[in-house]
């Protein structure tokens, strides 16, 4: 686990955004919008917050990350590659026949991926079970589960929240990638999940609200506190398609293969932003 300072963290985010876009272009498509919105959350977790061993994926005392919004796997792959848990340049094999990198996260191919997801509403339940098991065995490890806000439409999540509260799982953190969108439209126009903060509080969770693209804030606020007495929800305010102006908040970028021109424009924007912030 390494600490991310301000400039390094920003550079990493820019580089991984490039990686996501190039991979989607070369591979034939991907869930770009959600991958770009969840990216900083993953960078914070892998770069600073979680304890794990890159060469020992089954290390008993590792923090568990259940990536429930499995369609945003491009961001997960990019981080796994960045932190040495995929072979160098393995992202080039994304969606290639016979490769290890399908379009939703799968535990079978990549040891560091804890569960197979893609059907939404599953990860939280598994995370509750994993966290309870760790508690039963007295293992000091935390379970993080990342869900999408659209994914919170699924009732199974709320069943699991009730159970997490009932079991008083202080070693569980649910992180909501709150980008306000689903596949076809804004969440508020389809099946609104707001107010998420009130909902999680009413289910017995301690709730934090953070800027999901502010790495400093994420690194500071994501780690669980020692005196956490209940399950915790971190509502990360994000932008779907973050970093690419013509993709931000645009439904068609939920799943897309960028054209060569779109890719070039996006990379130019990212480079320009990097120069400004650098």
């Amino acid at each position: 686990m390494t600490e991310l300072d301000g400039q390094e963290a920003t550079q990493i985010a820019t580089a991984l955004r490039r990686r996501i876009l190039e991979t989607a272009h070369n591979g034939g498509g991907g869930h770009i919008g959600g991958s770009l919105s969840v990216l900083e959350i993953l960078i914070a977790l892998y770069g600073s917050v979680m304890k794990y061993r890159r060469n020992e994926p089954d290390w008993e005392y590792r923090d568990r990350l259940i990536f429930s919004k499995g369609h945003s796997v491009l961001a997960l792959y990019a981080c796994l590659e960045r932190w040495g848990m995929l072979r160098p340049s393995e992202l080039n094999e994304y969606l290639v026949d016979g490769s290890r990198l399908p379009g939703h996260s799968e535990h079978v191919h990549i040891p560091h991926i804890e569960v197979t997801t893609g059907s939404l509403g599953h990860g939280l339940g598994i995370a509750v079970g994993a966290a309870f098991a760790l508690q039963l065995r007295g293992i000091d490890a935390h379970t993080f589960v990342i869900v999408g806000d659209g994914e919170c439409n699924e009732g199974s999540n709320w069943e699991s929240c009730m159970l997490a509260n009932q079991l008083q799982l202080r070693n569980l953190t649910v992180i909501v990638d709150n980008n306000g969108m689903e596949s076809l439209d804004k969440t508020e126009n389809i099946l609104s999940v707001e107010p998420l903060t009130d909902k999680f509080r009413s289910f017995g969770f301690a709730v934090d609200v953070v800027d999901g693209h502010n790495l400093g804030e994420l690194v500071e606020r994501l780690p669980p506190s020692q005196d956490q007495e209940q399950p915790r929800a971190v509502i990360a305010k994000t932008i779907k398609g973050k970093g690419v102006s013509f993709a931000e908040g645009v439904p068609m970028w939920h799943f897309r293969q960028p054209t060569s021109r779109e890719l070039a424009e996006a990379l130019t924007e990212l480079d320009a932003d990097a120069q400004i912030s650098g």
């Binding site: 339940g125 199974s156 009730m162 159970l163 009932q166």
Partner: protein, 309 residues
Amino acid sequence: MRKSLAEALLARARTDERILLIVGDIGFGVFDEFRRQFPKRFLNTGIAEQAMVGFASGLAKEGYRPIVYTIAPFLIGRAYDQVRVDVAMHSRHMLLVGVGGGVSYGKLGPTHHSLDDLALASLIPDLRVCNPSSPARVSVWIDRWLDNSVSPMFMRIGRDEPHVSQTIVDDGAIVGFPRQQNAATALLVSGSLLTWAQGLVESLSHDEVPPAVYAVEEIEPFPHRRIAELLQGHKRVVVAEEAYATGGLFSRVASVALSQVPRDSLPELYSYSMEKRFYFEVADASSLLRAGGLTSDSILDVLLGRRNG
């Protein structure tokens, strides 16, 4: 066979700390002794089947051996995607017990009946499926699940503790009554119908030759080879199941017959599956079996050659 299940789980739990029992707010009084002896290993996760199955998957992921217990249609029907994805897709070494399979919930109405659970479960890859035929067989399957595989298993059991009076010959997947194995005709039933089949045979008069009786307990993986042998050993086979025909026992037996039995060895084959409808009538389980088409007189007529099916 709830009592048998509770006893079998208790016995194993005494020597295996990985066993956890998770119920969906049902089973009043059934697991009292388990709760008394292992209070921290019994969890009632409420009326939330999807969460329950996902939760159990998380426990299994971390090395526990959870048993999930609720009413069969709610387990396989309501939480089907969790069973498929969280359990089978992840090869979780856990046991899913659907109680009240078939029409054993009788007068409580069709929402509690489950005539499709075995077929639905059988469609999921890497999920073993069993239907123990008697109380004594429950512990056999518990042991097989715990000791002989690392796969998840779905087990359908009834509510009652049926009494099976005759000695059962264990073939592994299929059980039967030994003295009738070389009979010309055979009654092949889904596991939970063994007692019913026994009653059928016992109703025969002394001068009537009883059929061989077999109960298929292992639904998935399906015992193709044994079924093929069995079919070749009899001239007439009646298949009866407490399930709809689609994807059921007869469809699988027929498939074996057509693909694995030499044509000149094929027996006459008859099917008695439950009529595919919802059973709204207020009736106990045995009456519902008759209402669904499993009528003793009709089946005996066919078995004894009084008429063709």
